[in-house]
Symmetry: C2
Subunit: 212 residues, 2 copies
């Protein structure tokens, strides 16, 4: 059964990662959720002293709590809230890193309804304060992963706001992002990919060509 936010967005339980910890981290371990892959990656980064990046807890509105005599408090009524920021943030080489991770089953495009307006605003704010904000998108049916820097995502979002298409096509995705490949350890080396992106102005060339 799929758990959903009031707005229809799919909820991936927090505790799932704990259950996966003991699994064999085989290179060909398909069918993992993106959250599992990122947790493994972030644990690797932390253990190898590369970065301190964590997933934020799922935001919950607590309504009722019970206090049994000799045991822990139990929350008996609570609701999922829409996130006002992104899922992951932390520090890497002194830089502030902030991203949202999304999976799509589509083989042709990434639907923008996966992202909340508040999250877009948050990524914009982060970018303005010299933080590094991006989306990490997994096309699960294709086993392909893309890092979309906020600046490029923003253009597609604004196109939608202006009445244009409500998704980023796969070929657009290939153009505006850095593709990363799942490996063994770290599972999804998004920081290395980001590092080369930040050092080379490669993608900006594409942008300039588009503007000609």
């Amino acid at each position: 059964m799929t758990i959903r936010y009031p707005n229809g967005k799919k909820y991936i339980p927090v505790q799932r990662s704990a259950r996966v910890d003991n699994k064999n981290l085989s290179f060909s371990n398909r069918g993992k959720t993106l959250e599992d892959e990122l947790n493994e990656t972030n644990e690797y980064y932390l253990a190898n002293n590369q970065a301190v990046i964590h997933k934020k807890p799922v935001p919950i509105q607590i309504v009722h709590v019970k206090y049994p005599a000799r045991s822990a408090a139990v929350i008996t009524e609570a609701y999922f809230r829409s996130p006002s920021t992104t899922d992951y943030n932390g520090v890497w080489k002194g830089k502030y890193i902030d991203f949202e991770a999304k999976e799509t089953k589509s083989m042709t495009s990434f639907p923008l309804q996966n992202i909340h307006e508040h999250q877009v605003e948050h990524m914009k704010n982060v970018t303005e304060h010299a933080g590094i904000a991006f989306l990490l998108v997994k096309f699960s049916a294709l086993d392909r992963y893309f890092i979309v820097p906020y600046e490029y995502f923003e253009k597609k979002w604004e196109r939608m706001i202006a009445g244009g298409r409500k998704s980023i096509t796969l070929s657009e995705m290939e153009e505006i992002s850095i593709e990363i490949h799942a490996g063994f350890n770290p599972r999804l080396d998004y920081l290395s990919a980001l590092d080369s992106y930040l050092q080379k102005p490669g993608i900006e060339t594409i942008e300039r060509q588009e503007n000609l």
Copy 2:
């Protein structure tokens, strides 16, 4: 009734801040929780384009969720989890900011049992990755607020580990921290205080004297 974590730590509900938004933000508005004060401050920083700093959601272990036919999913069983990181983080002038905020009713010392070992480890990691980690401590009975940079907190923590006292006395606090004063807007201008701390090597002088 006080809500507590399994380890006895007091839980302050997330939704409280929403209820406070319409209150008069008077300078002399005593009795606010530190969380309220920090939420106001962070909203001010965001609105005035100074920083993007948010409180993380309270970590919850979800056990059961119900799906009523035509309404939102309801969490019917969940537990509070111990936080593995700090409560607040974000970006300020491109720098990664990370802190834990704690209130004490004591008039003489700050009990170290207020802090989890995981949180200390996290702050240590942040510092090693060139982020700025600190504690923000409120002595609520005294209406006094202190920023304790991680480097200074660490010494008191290690003293406890080595079998020494389990708290930081008020006079020690005055020595190792930057005191901030509650104001109107922003309510608790911790970033200005941090700014002057980072620019002046004042506190390090104390440290050097201690080591003589």
